[in-house]
Symmetry: C2
Subunit: 367 residues, 2 copies
C-alpha cells in the first residue's frame, strides 16, 4: 500500500527523504556502530546532533546572539504551565490574546500562578479572526509584564500575519507555524513550539529564550523559592537540554527535518511554497458557494485551512470518500467539526493540487 496525501493536523506529514534517512539511522547511525536510539545522550555523536539542531534553528530563524535554544519534553501543553511558572511573579498580570483553545489553555495555566488578564478574546465571534493591535485592551497590555499570543490556531484555521507591536515583551506559542515562514524572533522574548507539525515527530518541544527572559527567570525563580529542576529554564539552559535523557530520536529527526529545510533554501522559499499551497486551496473555497470558509480573509491560516459544506451529511460523505481516494486527515477538529487540510512544510503542492481537483469532482457530483 502506497503513501497517501497526508493532511493530518499533527502529528503530520514528514518529508519522504527525511524518513528514508531516519530508516537508515534506526539500525546504524554514522560511525557509532549502533542505531540512533541506542547511543548515550552524553556521547559525542549525540552531542553533535544536538548542536547541529541548535545551529540550524539559529540560522533558519535568525535567533539572536545570547538566546538559549532548548529541546524539552511535554509539548506546548506543559509549556503553558512552565512559562508562567518561570516568567511571571505571583502578583503580576501578564496579558493573553485569546484566539482559541490553545491560547485559552495557556491563560488558564497562568491563572494558577499569577493574575493574568485577557487582552482580547475571539470567543464571541467563534474565533473567526485575528485582532489588530488596536483591538486589544490597552489597559490590560499596559499593566502586563509581557503579552502572550498564539501565532496560528490549528482548530479555527486562523493565523497572525504580523508580529504585534505593543511595546511590551512578547511571548509566543508557535507550535503550528514555526519554520513555515521567516519570523522576527528578536521582536519576541520567548517562543515555544511542539515539534509535531513542521519540525519532526511528537515528543520534542523547542523553547527559545532571550537574555531578557533568562534574567526575568532568575528573578521569578528566586521569588518562588526555587523550582523543580525539570521545570526550571535555568537548569535546562545550564545543562544544554541534557539535565536528564531527552528524546534522542526526536531531536535527531528534528535535526534532519531542519537540514531538509535548509537544503531547500531556508524559510524564504518555504514561505513561498506554503503561500502557493494555501492560495490554491483558498481559491477553490472562494470559487464556489458549495464550500464555505468561516475565517475572515485577512486572518486565514496558511497552515490549517478549514471549511464547511452545505450540510453535515455532505461533509460526512466528502470525508469518507476523500479518505478512500487517498486524502488523509481532512476531518475538522472534534470540537468544531467540518473539514480541515493541514498544509505543513512537508505537504507538497502536488498534494494540494490533487485535493483541489478531487474537490471539484466531488462538487460536480454532489453540488
Amino acid at each position: 500500500m502506497a503513501r497517501a496525501h497526508n493532511f493530518n493536523a499533527g502529528p503530520g506529514a514528514l518529508p519522504d527523504s527525511v524518513l528514508v534517512e531516519l530508516q537508515a539511522a534506526v539500525l546504524e547511525f554514522g560511525k557509532t556502530r549502533a542505531g540512533i536510539m541506542e547511543i548515550s545522550h552524553r556521547s559525542k555523536a549525540f552531542e553533535a546532533v544536538l548542536e547541529s539542531a541548535q545551529a540550524r534553528l539559529r540560522r533558519l530563524l535568525g535567533v539572536p546572539e545570547g538566546w538559549a535554544i532548548l529541546f524539552q519534553q511535554g509539548g506546548a501543553s506543559l509549556q503553558f504551565h512552565v512559562l508562567s511558572l518561570n516568567l511571571a511573579l505571583p502578583g503580576e498580570a501578564p496579558a493573553f490574546v485569546d484566539t482559541g483553545t490553545w491560547s485559552t489553555k495557556a491563560y488558564e495555566e497562568a491563572q494558577r500562578l499569577c493574575q493574568p488578564r485577557k487582552a482580547w478574546s475571539g470567543k464571541g465571534n467563534a474565533y473567526t479572526f485575528i485582532p489588530s493591535d488596536a483591538e486589544l485592551d490597552a489597559s490590560a497590555v499596559a499593566a502586563a509584564p509581557w503579552v502572550h499570543y498564539t501565532t496560528n490556531n490549528t482548530i479555527r484555521g486562523t493565523q497572525f500575519h504580523r508580529v504585534p507591536a505593543l511595546g511590551k515583551p512578547l511571548l509566543a506559542d508557535m507550535s503550528s507555524d514555526i519554520c513555515s515562514r521567516p519570523v522576527d524572533v528578536g521582536a519576541h522574548e520567548a517562543i515555544y513550539a511542539g515539534a509535531q507539525k513542521n519540525l519532526g515527530p511528537s515528543g520534542v518541544t523547542v523553547v527559545l529564550l532571550s537574555p531578557w527572559a533568562l534574567a526575568r527567570q532568575a528573578e521569578v525563580k528566586a521569588a518562588r523559592g526555587g523550582l523543580p529542576p525539570m521545570l526550571d529554564y535555568a537548569v535546562q539552559v545550564e545543562n544544554n537540554s541534557l539535565y536528564n535523557t531527552p528524546s534522542t530520536f526526536g531531536i535527531f529527526a528534528l535535526e534532519r527535518v531542519l537540514a531538509w529545510v535548509e537544503a531547500g533554501g531556508g524559510l524564504g522559499p518555504m514561505a513561498e511554497k506554503n503561500t502557493r499551497k494555501a492560495d490554491l486551496l483558498y481559491s477553490e473555497l472562494d470559487r464556489s458557494p458549495f464550500w464555505r470558509c468561516p475565517v475572515r480573509p485577512d486572518s486565514r491560516s496558511q497552515m490549517n485551512v478549514v471549511w464547511r459544506l452545505p450540510t453535515e451529511d455532505l461533509e460526512e460523505r466528502f470525508l469518507k470518500e476523500a479518505d478512500a481516494a487517498g486524502f488523509l486527515g481532512l476531518k475538522g477538529h472534534r470540537s468544531v467539526g467540518g473539514c480541515r487540510a493541514s498544509l505543513y512544510n512537508a505537504v507538497e503542492p502536488a498534494s494540494v493540487a490533487a485535493l483541489v481537483a478531487y474537490m471539484r469532482d466531488f462538487e460536480a457530483k454532489n453540488g
Copy 2:
C-alpha cells in the same frame, strides 16, 4: 560498518528484529498509508498501538485489575516531582530508601512538596549494598504514608532482589530493571520507569498506579487546590495518556519491544537469560584479582555490572581498546569512574561471552 556489542547504560541496546520493524513503520505503518510518526495520536490506528502497549504491560508484569497504565513524557526525573506532587500531602513524611543518585533526587524533589525522611542511606558506604528491611529506620517507616525505593541503581550497580515488606504502601522507580524479571506489581501502589533501558527509546515514561494511589491522588489534589493538567495523574488517566500529543513513535517502539519480550516467552525466560549473562560476567570479575567489583555479592545488579582495574591508567587503556574492539559503552558513570557493562534485555549472551573473552585476553596482556 557493522553493529557492535552495545553495553550502553541507557539509551541502550534494542533488539535487532524490533529495529527492523521500526524501519518499515517509519515509511508505512500498517494500512494507514503514512509513516508511524505521521498519523494522529487520536486515530484508530494509534489507539490500537496504545491499547496493545497497555495490554502487553498488563500481561507481562501481571498488573492487577483496576490499575492505570500511563505513558508520560519527561522521564523518571519529572516523575520525581510529579510523584510527591500527586501522592503526598504537604505535612506528610514519606520515607525514602537512598541507594544512590536517583533515590536522592526523588527525595530532594519531595522536599519541595512535603516533609520526607530518609529511612536509610548508603552514602556512608559508597552505596555498595542494598539494605535489608531490618536495616531501615523503623520510626521513619512507621511515620510514613508510603515508602519509596529504586529497584536498581545504574551508577553503583546495585539491585534489590526482593520487594521490601514494610507494611506500608510501596512506590518504586523501576527505570533500569522493569521487564527484566518477574515482579510482584501488586505488592506496590505506584511504579514508574523511563523507557530507555529495557522498554524502548528515550522520551517515554511508564507510570503504573493502583486504586489506592488513584484515591490518594484525589485527596492530595483537593488539598493542593488542583494541579496543572500535564502533571495531574487523574487528568492523564481520564484522557488515557492522550490529554496532549504523546511521543507516538516512542510508544509504538515500546509496544514492539514488549511484543518481542512476549514472543520470547515473557519475563520468566527473560530473567533466566539475564541471570545467565550477569553470572557470566560476575564469574569473570570474581575469578581474578585483576578485576574488582565493589558491590557486595548479595546486592549485585543483573542489569549494570560495575568493576575497577588495578589502576586508572589500566582502566583508560581497557576502555579505549575495548571500544576499538567493538565493545561499546563500558565507561562507568562520570560520577564514579571505572567500568560498567549494562546487560539490558536486548543484550545477547553472545555479547557478554565475547566481552569476557576479551577481558581475559586483556588481563593476559596487562595483568
